[in-house]
């Protein structure tokens, strides 16, 4: 609805003499609109200082981007490795039913004669099934 409406702004005619491309200027003012209010406190007297500030801050930004790129790469490698291990564990998890059978058989055969903690062993199997087969979030 708003796009069909005509929008106009009144620009002092002397501005037209100062600026070669008015359309570009209005474009830029929309792009940088949020910074217009900061102009009230800006020191615009020295071109050289402004350019030096811009160079300095551009260098700082580029450096940060490079650092970020390296960190992303490191994360990417770890994430890939993590996916591989998770998949391996998921495949291993497919045999958990068999493992549970072995546990029950061992308990039946040896009972209390063994020092094996059957409850802990069941918890280990359950944890493995929850994480890798049911993909539940594991909380510490």
């Amino acid at each position: 609805m708003y796009l069909r409406k005509k929008y106009r702004i009144l620009i002092p005619d002397t501005t037209i003499d100062k600026v070669s491309d008015m359309e570009d200027m209005v474009d830029q003012l929309f792009d940088y609109y949020i910074y217009i209010q900061d102009l009230a406190e800006a020191d615009l007297s020295d071109s050289e200082r402004l350019n030096n500030d811009l160079d300095g801050i551009s260098a700082e930004y580029n450096e940060l981007c490079q650092d970020y790129g390296k960190l992303m790469q490191e994360y990417g490698v770890l994430n890939f490795h993590g996916s591989e291990l998770f998949t391996r564990n998921t495949i291993t998890g497919l045999k958990l039913g068999l493992l549970m059978n072995k546990l029950e058989r061992a308990k039946g055969m040896w009972g209390d004669q063994l020092t094996l903690d059957y409850d802990s062993a069941r918890k280990i199997i359950q944890h493995f099934a929850d994480r890798y087969l049911l993909k539940k979030e594991i909380e510490d």
């Binding site: 702004i9 009144l10 940088y32 910074y35």
Partner: protein
Amino acid sequence: MSNLEKKKYVKYELSYKQKQKLLKLSERSNKHPEEILTDIESFFEDFVGYEDKRIWEKILTFFNIRLLEQKINQRSDDIVEIKKKTKLQRDLLVEYEDDYLTIVELGQTLETLNKMK
């Protein structure tokens, strides 16, 4: 009064693309489009007051500095975030490996026990 009479204005109509920008800006900043246009008109009122012929160039440099400052803050936040995710991923790798070794060890123990009888 004489000053007002001397000051002349040109009506500038926004292009379609500029209208799109205006409406996006209005949505993002939660301001009515007319309010944004009034701000831009105020900018032009101040702009004619500058004697400096290179003022627009300087203003653009200033805007670029502000934009980069904002991007630096954003990137710094991104770096903190990716470091957190990396640490979490490292911890998970250790856990995945521990889980695997534990289950393999349990499997081997049970296998041995089942074979004994």
